[in-house]
């Protein structure tokens, strides 16, 4: 069994077989414009009728009182308060990324076109537009510095070449320098979600086929199949999926009053649960609940290729403004999970947000495990044989 068959390679179609596949869908979560309103959390719970995930107590993590992703919380907004020193470090670590020979953009370009030119893109983009609004502007330099390895046609998608947005926000509007003074303080907010990995650990280790790769390239649990073995929980390198261990789906209250009789009951206790990227809505060509609700288009949804382009343009734009702390997470098809369906733009190291810095799908090591286990099996059998031959003489 070769690696290639055990775990899909970068070509996404490798672990899928569909008569009529659709282009792969995904999220782009731009945390630089997240306002931490948690509309995504609520919209997600309401649509999926997930139970409340809380003891109704302050958790002691800024405004975050749901803790993290889990069986009941499929979108989770993280809140991180940082001092100036930490911002400098983030900026530095981001610069270090740029300086590596990795997919990268060039150094901040000198201030581009005058701001008054305005920007032709963005404003009227509807909420479900893949590209979202306001993010499609990038400076002229981005075309030449588009990532070489990421597989995005670097030139297209850059419909708007005005650098007005970048220049104005960074320095003074009239062609000032893009050098940023570091604020004393910042409050990071970021909406986390299932990554819908190209190589999905949960999917690989699921014994029943409850987890499957959909025709949209997402990873979904089938509630009628899962028997709650829990293997997937440990299989996920991001700690996303979890077994729901209590009850039905209507939201609980502390008062013990019986729920409204008409509340739909779906018995989903005891099975693994996670974001489905709203598989049901996607089938009807609707936007997932979280992306639909997001007030600032921090959560964008669309074909993954488009998401990737948006993400790359946005990070280039931020770098032009001197905000070198910006970086993408999950955009690289060569990473340990083959790139994620949900791409994030982060403003600090991943572990600050509770994300692993170098996740790796556990099944990547499966061939080796098979070889070693095979050797152990043979060894044990040989030992057994020896016991009754050599050992017998004693």
């Amino acid at each position: 069994m070769s690696t290639d068959r055990m775990t899909p390679t970068s070509a996404f179609a490798d672990d899928t077989h569909w008569e009529h596949p659709h282009p792969r869908r995904g999220f782009f979560t731009d945390t630089s414009i997240c306002i931490g309103c948690k509309a995504c959390e609520v919209a997600c719970k309401e649509w999926n009728r997930n139970p409340v995930d809380s003891d109704y107590e302050i958790l002691g993590s800024s405004y975050d009182n749901t803790g993290g992703l889990g069986a009941d919380t499929w979108r989770h907004v993280a809140f991180i308060e940082q001092s100036q020193e930490r911002i400098e470090e983030a900026r530095e670590s981001g610069r270090a990324l740029v300086n590596l020979g990795m997919p990268r953009v060039g150094p901040p370009a000198p201030s581009p076109a005058p701001a008054s030119t305005g920007c032709a893109c963005g404003p009227a983009a509807p909420a479900d537009d893949a590209a979202g609004s306001g993010c499609a502007c990038s400076g002229p330099s981005s075309a030449t510095t588009a990532p070489a390895t990421a597989g995005c046609g670097s030139a297209d998608g850059c419909g708007c070449s005005s650098g007005g947005a970048g220049g104005a926000a960074a320095g003074t509007a009239e062609g000032g320098s893009p050098v940023l003074d570091t604020p004393d303080f910042r409050w990071l907010m970021s909406s986390d979600v299932c990554k819908h990995c190209t190589h999905a650990g949960c999917l690989d280790v699921c014994p029943t086929g409850a987890l499957f790769r959909t025709e949209f390239g997402t990873v979904v649990v089938q509630e009628d199949i899962c028997n709650g073995c829990g293997t997937c929980v440990a299989g996920c390198p991001f700690g996303v999926i979890e077994r729901r261990d209590d009850g039905l789906v209507e939201p609980k209250t502390q008062r013990g009053t019986p729920p409204m009789p008409d509340t739909v009951k779906v018995p989903q206790d005891g099975i693994a649960q996670k974001c489905t990227l709203c598989y049901d809505r996607m089938k009807e060509d609707q936007t997932p609940a979280c992306a639909q609700a997001c007030p600032t288009t921090s959560i964008k949804y669309g074909e993954r290729e488009t998401m990737l382009e948006s993400a790359q343009q946005r990070v280039a734009q931020l770098h032009e403004q001197g905000r070198t702390e910006a970086r993408l997470y999950g955009a690289n098809p060569k990473d340990g999970v083959g790139g994620t369906g949900s791409i994030f733009l982060l403003l600090d190291e991943p572990e600050v947000y509770g994300l692993p810095p170098d996740p790796r799908v556990p099944t990547a090591d499966l061939p080796r495990m098979y070889r070693r286990a095979g050797a152990a099996v043979l060894g044990m059998l040989a030992l057994g044989a020896a016991a009754f031959t050599v050992g017998d003489r004693r």
Partner: protein, 366 residues
């Protein structure tokens, strides 16, 4: 938290509905962690510095409890017993054969019950047979367990029939059953080894840091542990006259486990070894090692004396159980602190970068 002089006047609060929320340590800000909480035993490696999200875990532990740890032990015991039963069958050691077969079936049966009981939806245990997934050790293990149990079951049935003087109401099936004795014994014996080791893959094919770090060697540890456990069981249950192969099996297992465990720990990221060496898992593994050495020595030196053999056998079985519990719970401990996830990952990332591989990071500048 009670600092007000008035607190003592408060009536006891109504207990709030408590829901177990896993992985929630008391937090206090996005803190830079300077390592452990001070109560831990001596750290093996310098404590790393990194910023976590309020100290919350990154990966999640599977929702498995001691039932699964028990199964790990029983599966090994069962697989090893089947091998010894096959040997006993082929070399005509009737007690070894009989006890091995019965042990194999009983352990597999109990283990299966433990497995099913641990499911979130036990009534759906048959879904395990729904698909055949090479990427899923649990799927492969289910197939192994099912085939192994069937074969071990037939072999055990023959044994029971024989023990009851062929009084089982088998009717015309008896000849068929007895004809199947050889093929099923061989099959059970051969499947006994994967039965004893696949659980290593089950654990290490996860993102649980300590388990995954073990993936190169855990199979050897578990195979050895299964050998010494089943050898021990036979020493305990069978007359010494027939248990020489079992003693050999056990002693080799002890040696194998000692070596494999050492090698494994050396190959792991040092930080991820920590959960195996502290707390309860650490104690268990320590005792496991002591018991296995004692049992091994007992088998080697006093295996021909019945009571020494029995005591050594029991020690070996206990050692195996402790090994499985130690590894199991050590792994579960390793998800509680994000450092076990983050630091090894950062280390390997740095290592790759140092080696000039810079194009495979999940974090990119564009």
């Amino acid at each position: 938290m009670s600092v007000s002089p008035y607190d003592s006047y408060r009536p006891p609060e109504e207990p709030r509905r408590r829901r177990r929320r896993r992985n929630r340590p008391p937090g206090g800000g996005a803190f830079r962690r300077g390592g452990g909480d001070g109560s831990r035993e001596v750290a093996m490696v310098p404590e790393p510095e990194f910023t976590s999200y309020y100290g919350r875990p990154i990966v999640k532990a599977p929702p498995w409890d001691s039932k699964i740890a028990t199964y790990l032990f029983l599966g090994g015991l069962s697989g090893g017993s089947a091998i010894l039963a096959l040997g006993g069958y082929l070399t005509d050691r009737s007690a070894l054969r009989r006890n091995g077969r019965l042990a194999a079936l009983t352990a597999a049966g109990l283990g299966g019950v433990a497995l099913v009981a641990d499911l979130g939806r036990p009534e759906r245990f048959l879904h395990m047979m729904r698909t055949f997934k090479p990427t899923s050790p649990m799927s492969m293990g289910s197939w192994v367990l099912a085939t192994f149990s069937t074969n071990a079951g037939v072999a055990a049935a023959v044994e029971v029939d024989r023990m009851t003087g062929e009084r089982l109401p088998l009717g015309p099936l008896r000849p068929v059953l007895h004809a199947a004795e050889l093929p099923t014994s061989v099959a059970a014996g051969l499947l006994g080894a994967p039965m004893a080791t696949y659980t290593a893959m089950l654990l290490s094919d996860t993102s649980v840091p300590t388990w995954h770090e073990m993936h190169g060697h855990l199979a050897f540890v578990f195979a050895s542990s299964a050998s010494l456990a089943s050898g021990g069981l036979m020493m305990l249950t069978s007359p010494v006259s027939q248990t020489a192969p079992a003693r050999f099996f056990a002693v080799a297992g002890v040696a194998g486990e000692l070596v494999a465990m050492r090698v494994m720990k050396n190959a792991m990221d040092p930080l991820t070894v920590e959960p195996l060496e502290q707390g309860r898992p650490g104690t268990w593994l320590e005792w496991s090692e002591r018991l296995s050495i004692a049992g091994g020595l007992g088998a080697l030196l006093g295996g021909r004396r019945r009571w020494v053999a029995a005591a050594s056998g029991a020690a070996l079985m206990a050692s195996s159980a402790l090994t499985r519990f130690g590894v199991f719970w050590g792994g579960k401990e390793s998800v509680k602190d994000p450092k076990y996830t983050v630091v090894p990952q950062r280390n390997r990332l740095e290592k790759r970068r140092a080696a000039g591989i810079t194009d495979d990071s999940i974090t990119t500048a564009g």
